[in-house]
Chain length 505, copies 2
């Protein structure tokens, strides 16, 4: 069992590379794309779905809990039907803002309000770089992506299986993943909820690292995505995982995967109504289990390409869904989770415009937690090294935008304008000289040279440069200190669990 | 002289490729990034600049006109100082909305309100494609880019020197440019204002094509950009060009080129105050010359990269400037011009994210006229074939977004949701089958295939695919019919003017 433990030696780990850690605050009011009447129509449809069609909930204990809470439960088909009044009453206890605690307090992140959290990609089975191409993800890739996530200040949380360590046994690879997350980063992590084991081990290991169960219950340290199995189903592994996290007081995001045309109606209005029904249902359940448990309204509505049957991301429909999802989350005073998505298979122009086209609606919709913020390619199947760096630049550009501008006598610069006068230039004047080092956004990856200099430096494309930046960042990575006793306790825990899960090795 | 002429045979030219001509209307309310107090501070600074520092106006006749209008004119340094009252009084007569008339009436475009016009890039001296690299622009390139602009419905107006025909004599190449614009496209064109000749010949040729001087005065057919020589100067060629267009009742956009840190203060507030001073000054002058003349508030404020001295585009500062420019234009009830800008030297990821990062603020700021909407690379020095196609996709994605979504009983799809039920899928149901051909955005360039199919089709990047789309579009281009008598009259006019301008050949 984990021993409660004081946190020591983990507060001073800000290397040069991670120097820019700063949670952006959204300076623009959120965009509400729907009129109040339109929003109410969607909500009313969600309630009709919950009242008439109902949700299949694949947990005998869960069905009992719903029944005790006042829902109509049909055990013949495991269907739960819930009144709008009950749903709205239950979700009331969910906090509108909370803090996710990192083992480095400088990396705590606030969830809610106008704050944004960018978390690296989670879930890909493949990794890709332009030299080696696509291949199965390995533990080495996973560790690399955790190191990249730790190294850039604009990445605030560590995604889950950023790239799946397929070279480890499926039944125990989550232990290796969690170990790497705790060892190579001191930012908040996102463990997985694929069944009880994933959740249980995440909680136990977090308790070892963060000072015990009571400590993490008071100060939640993980956020985990709970996907409904759209349409209208929560399956056993997800319910078991979610339940374990909530027992430990950890944050979850209820995120229906409602691709219009496949797991949801082809019409966006219906897909979002269904998303809202599933999300509210899951959120209400978290509050029945543990009133006040931190929970995030998750949206992942996009559409399938009806020609190929593939999911299509960063589409016009996805932009509307992202904005409307935010409007719904605000209606319920809940933090909002969205994503940085793309279909491109390479770190090319499509990857660039898709990332930016995903992120603008995310920012305008006031998403608080942005999963897959860096590294996602090929509809989430590939974690890309160059795409990670491209996304860091995209996020930094938006973070720079969110810093806003100052309007006062000094920045209005009337004296400098008069001093320079018609036909002059501002390069040399005092007003410029005082500010030229720090006034503007400075890029990581963007090339702003003139053509001649760019050609002389090798005519490198953004992908070429991103490859080099990823390699350099890994070479310069500094591991944040972890108390050796904690590391040993983690290792002992993993060894024991490996033996329990796979007794025959 | 041009003979007034009925327009004939030019109304039926909608080929398959141009089928999608449709001016988007902005569905979201404009984003006002500044508080009313902040906006007033910027405006007050603009007025102080105009009242105290003044504008250098390099036209003796112009100085007379300003003096007659009530401004203080200092002839020793050609400085004009104008009261805020005079400025605000004069700009009142500018229309808040007008129509630009194309020779194909299906391609008329409305300027103002929530309408957007996308015009191709204007000004590059170089062309670039991935097979041949960068080279000096030629007439063949220019014609190609006009054909591309004509072929895509999402390009509403033809940019000016989309790519400069450097293989033609500098003194007469504008004649060849205008000829190509009128011959190869039936959309509105943007001629140049670099001196009297450019403007005069544009007006005369437009009169030939569009039925005479009185016709184009009543129904303006061209929009031209008038750049102030920031800081605070209008030079002789621009004033002469502007004056000629206004005498002919043609639309102009007054667009200061206020790069913060070079031609404007390094602080964005000051750069925008200066932009606003120069724009209001120029707009007031258009209305003094011809009250009611169509005019557009132009903004082109970005910043220089203080490390290299190069202009930096699609930056966080540029996004703020674009949004604030829109807020100012709306304050004066004027249509608003902005741009799709980029620094990338190649059709790579940077080109993709820069285009999208430029266009979201353009859309949110409710720009009505978007110059450089397709094809701009390398800070405007290169017209790129692949970038043109990338931008068409970016514009189409945003146009798709601007179509909005429908929320009614049919799209809320409660029956379909109940029919499919928990755990089912929506592929085969009637609600899907009725809509699957037309419900979603369909891409031009985006690849949404799965990895295996993408690999089998050659692992082409977006740039590779864009190259092919550009070539195919040019191969399938259909020239819109032009009355032969008009064409001959254009040719005769050009021959005569060539002789006048270059009597010795």
């Amino acid at each position: 069992m984990a021993t409660p433990r004081r946190r020591t030696g983990r507060t001073t780990t800000t290397s040069a590379v991670t120097g820019g850690f700063r949670q952006p605050r959204n300076p623009l009011p959120p965009v509400d794309p729907l009129s109040p009447e339109q929003l109410e129509k969607i909500e009313a449809a969600s309630f009709q779905i919950l009242e008439n069609t109902g949700i299949e909930f694949l947990s005998p204990r869960g069905l009992d809990i719903w029944e005790q809470a006042g829902a109509k439960v049909d055990r013949s088909n495991k269907r739960v039907r819930v009144d709008r009044g009950l749903i709205l009453d239950k979700i009331k206890t969910a906090p509108s803002q909370f803090t996710l605690h990192a083992r480095n307090p400088a990396h705590h992140t606030i969830m809610g309000g106008d704050y944004m959290i960018f978390a690296s990609v989670s879930g890909p089975g493949y990794s890709l770089d332009i030299k080696r191409g696509r291949r199965n993800g390995t533990y080495a890739d996973l560790v690399n992506f955790i190191k990249l996530s730790q190294s850039f200040g604009v990445i605030h949380n560590i995604g889950g299986f950023i790239c799946e360590n397929q070279d480890h046994h499926e039944a125990t690879r989550h232990l290796d993943t969690y170990y790497a997350q705790h060892l190579y980063a001191d930012k908040c992590i996102m463990p997985s909820a694929l069944g009880y084991n994933h959740a249980h081990d995440a909680v136990e290991m977090a308790a070892i690292v963060h000072g015990g169960h009571e400590q993490i219950r008071q100060f939640p340290v993980t956020l985990t995505i709970i996907n409904s199995n759209s349409p209208l189903r929560f399956d056993t592994p997800m319910i078991d995982g979610m339940t374990r996290y909530i027992e430990a007081g950890q944050a979850v995001s209820i995120t229906p995967f409602t691709l219009a045309g496949a797991m949801a109606p082809i019409t966006l209005a219906g897909a979002i109504a269904q998303q809202n029904a599933e999300a509210l249902f899951g959120i209400a359940y978290t509050q029945i289990l543990n009133p006040g448990n931190p929970v995030v309204y998750g949206a992942f509505t996009s559409n399938v390409d009806m020609q190929s049957g593939s999911p299509a991301f960063a589409t016009p429909e996805g932009a509307w869904a992202t904005l409307i999802g935010g409007q719904l989350a605000r209606r319920y005073h809940l933090p909002y989770r969205a994503s940085n998505v793309a279909n491109s298979k390479a770190p090319d122009a499509q990857a660039g415009w898709e990332s930016m086209n995903a992120m603008w609606p995310v920012m305008l919709g006031h998403a608080n937690y942005v999963l897959h913020a860096a590294g996602w390619l090929d509809a989430g199947l590939i974690a890309g090294y160059e795409k990670f760096i491209i996304d860091v630049e995209v996020l930094q550009l938006l973070e720079g935008f969110m810093r806003g501008i100052t309007i006062d006598d000094s920045t209005l610069a009337l004296d400098a304008i008069d001093e320079v006068g018609p036909g002059g230039h501002f390069f040399g004047v005092g007003h410029t000289m005082e500010r030229y080092r720090s006034e503007f956004y400075r890029p990581l990856l963007s090339d702003w040279q003139n053509y001649g200099n760019w050609e002389q430096s090798g005519s490198l494309t953004a992908a070429d440069r991103a490859y080099k930046i990823a390699q350099d960042t890994l070479a310069n990575y500094e591991q944040p200190p972890l108390d050796l006793a904690i590391q040993e306790e983690l290792e002992a825990y993993i060894a024991r669990r490996r033996q329990e899960i796979l007794p025959n090795g």
